[in-house]
């Protein structure tokens, strides 16, 4: 099951976030038990918790990448560290799938742990992003990010994700 979906730009500003599969009037209380708190606030919790969560997700992706970057082996030929983008972080309660483009956009999806890989789906969403946001002359750029409020992106991304096996439990 897909819980939530975020897009960040290079410096961590969140360009887009949404949650899926939230039930009406659910404040996340039901999920707290077996999800160990990871799902807290996700289903319509207050905005402050949402903002906090948004930062935590990016912070985790960013710091993990830094950490892994320092641990990764050297390439024998170029004497540079092998580039190793962060892919999936799996826990018992949920899985974080990330895809970082060279241009610094991070696409992050939270799912339940039964979904093993979302990489090609994330790439497909990147293509929707390019099509509907980057290539649209109507979308104004504001210091390195895009204002996507007036595009079809959200609709198209939702349509795409709904077809992904395991979108709902």
């Amino acid at each position: 099951m897909i819980y939530s979906f975020y897009i960040y730009r290079r410096d961590g500003v969140c360009l887009f976030k949404t949650t899926y599969n939230a039930t009406e009037g659910d404040n996340g209380g039901d999920n707290r038990g077996d999800n160990g708190g990871i799902n807290r606030g996700i289903n319509g919790g207050d905005t402050e918790a949402e903002d906090e969560r948004e930062k935590l997700v990016f912070g985790m992706a960013f710091s993990l990448k830094e950490l892994i970057g320092q641990l990764s082996p050297m390439d024998g030929n170029t004497q540079q560290q092998i580039d190793c983008p962060l892919g999936t972080v799996k826990t018992r309660s949920s899985t974080m799938h990330t895809y970082e483009t060279l241009t610094g956009f991070r696409f992050i999806i939270y799912t339940d742990p039964s979904i093993n890989t979302m990489q090609h789906h994330l790439q497909a969403i990147y293509r929707i992003w390019v099509d509907k946001v980057v290539k649209s002359p109507l979308v104004k750029q504001k210091d390195g990010g895009y204002d996507i409020s007036d595009t079809e992106f959200e609709k198209r991304a939702k349509e795409y994700l709904e077809k992904v096996p395991g979108f709902r439990r």
Partner: protein
């Protein structure tokens, strides 16, 4: 890992790209430059404006480039040296956006030179002596700087030769100035 030649990737992406009539493209660009000349009057200002427009285009083009190339050739790893970056621009980038491929040479580890034999932007173009200082295709320098800037490479791009000024080829020299470090923005300080 099996390595697909870059020119092959360029051909695949080009074949999937929607095309426009090249004369329409050339003339539209000509009209744009002519209008800028009318608006700004000074050629130096026009050059600057073209470069600025190019940067804004480049920042967006790079995303289209990355998403299409990763689809056409999923096994290609990201460029690890600046010369590989140059190869990708010459064999894939130019092919995919302008329909031409260009030759490349490497005078130093931080520089590459692209040689364009026929430039679709400057077909039909003659620069009158009164506008001698005009760098007609300046937008290309902007595109290269903008697109590489978006992938953390600050470069300087400049023309060495220009067909429209009577040279037999157009050559673009691209020099790497620095690699921009990743960092988090304002909202993450003190946390």
């Amino acid at each position: 890992m099996s390595k697909v030649p870059l020119s092959r990737t360029g051909d695949i992406v080009w074949s999937r790209t929607p095309k426009t009539n090249s004369e329409l493209f050339t003339l539209t660009y000509g009209v744009l430059v002519a209008q800028l000349l009318r608006d700004f009057e000074k050629v130096e200002e026009v050059n600057k404006e073209l470069r600025r427009m190019g940067r804004n285009i480049g920042v967006r083009l790079i995303d289209e480039y990355l998403s299409k190339v990763s689809l056409a050739s999923p096994t290609t790893p990201p460029c690890s040296t600046f010369h590989q970056t140059g190869d990708s621009i010459a064999k894939i980038g130019f092919k995919m956006f302008l329909g031409i491929s260009c030759d490349i040479s490497y005078p130093s580890p931080t520089t590459f030179v692209l040689t364009v034999h026929s430039n679709p932007l400057s077909t039909f173009v003659e620069i009158p002596p009164s506008r001698e200082g005009l760098s007609y295709c300046e937008i290309m320098n902007g595109v290269i700087e903008g697109s590489l800037g978006a992938v953390s490479l600050r470069v300087e791009s400049r023309f060495r030769k220009q067909i429209e000024k009577g040279d037999d080829v157009t050559t673009i020299e691209v020099e790497m100035m620095e690699r921009i470090k990743d960092g988090v923005g304002e909202g993450y300080k003190d946390e």
